[in-house]
Structures are given as C-alpha cells and as structure tokens.
Subunit: 149 residues, 2 copies
C-alpha cells in the first residue's frame, strides 16, 4: 500500500503524472484512505509498471490504454489481438524512422557541401541550396564543395 508520492518516487516519475494517468483512465488507485489520500495496492503498482514498460518501447498513452483493455480481460482476447497492436506500432515507428532518415540524408548532404570555415556566408552552399534548389534534391551539392580560403 503506497501513497502517491511513494509510488511516484519508486518509479522515478512525478506524482502529477500519476494523477494525470488517473484522469485519463490508465491507472486509478484501488482505494482511498480516511483522509482522502490515494492508496495504491501492489496490483496498482504492477499496472503502473506495465504502463511504464509499454512507454519504454514507444507506445503512446492511447495505445497503452488499448493494451491495458486487452490485458484486463485477456481470457476473452486472443494472441492476434495483441500482436496486431504491436505490429501496427511497428509500422508507425518504421515510417517515422524512414522520414527521419530522409531528413538525415539531406542534412548530411548540406553539411558535407559546406566548408564550415570563417569566410562570409554569402557563398555558403547550404544557404544557396535552401534559397534555390528543388526541395529534397540537394544531390548537386554533394559534388561541388567549396574550400575555406
């Protein structure tokens, strides 16, 4: 039986975060003490641990809500229900990675084209690219770099 501050400290989170999770239906303490304080049971703590582990693999609170709703009556649910949620997330994460890798590629080309020296930025290839290149076509830049002279 833990009070909000204890449980929060144990898991390295803010007590406000626990109130926030409660307001959003993720985790409610199973009891209140006479003075109105929230009282969390060991089961509550386990549910919190579930939430935090799911967060640690990238799930949003909305997705965790879905996972929890499967978890609480898992006898009625099947493996594919669970795996679908994971595979769905896997796709979203992969798409986000792909987008960021496109960013990284373009940024690397921009960086490689610029001498990074201390001459005036008037002829900086990065600025020139952003001023006039076709979007997402910085490949011209990759070839011609200029020297800091």
């Amino acid at each position: 039986m833990f009070r909000i501050g204890e449980l929060a400290k144990q898991h390295g989170i803010n007590a406000d975060t626990l109130r926030f999770y409660e307001k959003h239906g993720l985790l409610a303490p199973s009891a209140r003490s006479d003075n109105g304080y929230r009282v969390y049971s060991r089961d509550d703590a386990q549910r919190l641990a579930f939430i935090l582990r799911a967060k640690a693999v990238g799930f949003s609170l909305g997705e965790i809500t879905e996972l929890l709703s499967i978890e609480v009556n898992k006898s009625q649910r099947v493996c594919s229900d669970v795996k679908d949620v994971v595979d769905d997330k896997l796709m979203k994460v992969s798409e986000k990675i792909a987008e960021l890798e496109r960013f990284r590629f373009s940024l690397q080309l921009l960086s490689d084209g610029c001498c990074g020296g201390s001459h005036s930025a008037e002829h900086c290839t990065i600025l020139q690219a952003l001023e006039s290149c076709e979007p997402a076509d910085f490949s011209q830049l990759a070839a011609e770099t200029h020297a800091d002279s």
Copy 2:
C-alpha cells in the same frame, strides 16, 4: 505581387499557414493594398520557398527562424554559423532515429515472440513481457516462442 490565397495555392499550403508564419515572425508580406489585403512580393515568395525547403529537410519553425536570421545578413555571418545549425539538427535527428530504432528493435522482439494466433491471450508472450520483464530487456522472449495450438 500575390495575394495570400494565390501565394498559398502556388505553394500548396493553406492561407492560414501564411498568417500563422507572419504572426510568428517568419514571413511578413512587404506591403498591404489599399483595402488592407496582404501583398507578397517575389522576394517574399522566395523567402517562403526557403522556409518550405527548410521544413522539407526536417527543420522546425524555431530552427528556420534562426536560419533566416543568418540568411538575411549573410555578409556579416560565416559558413560555420550555418553549418553549426545544420550539424546541430543532424545530431538531434540522429538521436531521435536511435531512440526509434530501440523502439523498433523491442517491438520486433515482442512481435516475433507472439504466435499471433487465435488462442486465448492468457499466455501471450507480449503481455507477459509487459507484465514482468525488465524494461528494454525482451531478449528472453526472442528465444522462446509459442505455437498457436
């Protein structure tokens, strides 16, 4: 000389977005017509193109503000000023990719461990992992998968 709707349409964006950029100091029309309409010059359009190209490589509006402030007085600035912004972003993007790849790895292990079949989720390895594994240590799961029988 373009009105807000024209300029927006030319660039495939919403007129509201242009007003938003103006409010946040990214792009103000260089004139207003007698009736109070915004009037964008060709220079304004080029500045917008700069903003959109920067967005296309992943820069946030805050970062674009910084790039623009360098661009407008580039004669006073040097290549390293520009390259620093790009390299800074490159690092942030790489870090975000690394985080998402950790997510992807964990999610893949979770997915691989689950049969995805139609038997009760009571013994689903995904739920078991989220209930009891050490965070970010789903490697045990990778080995022992169960069959849908």
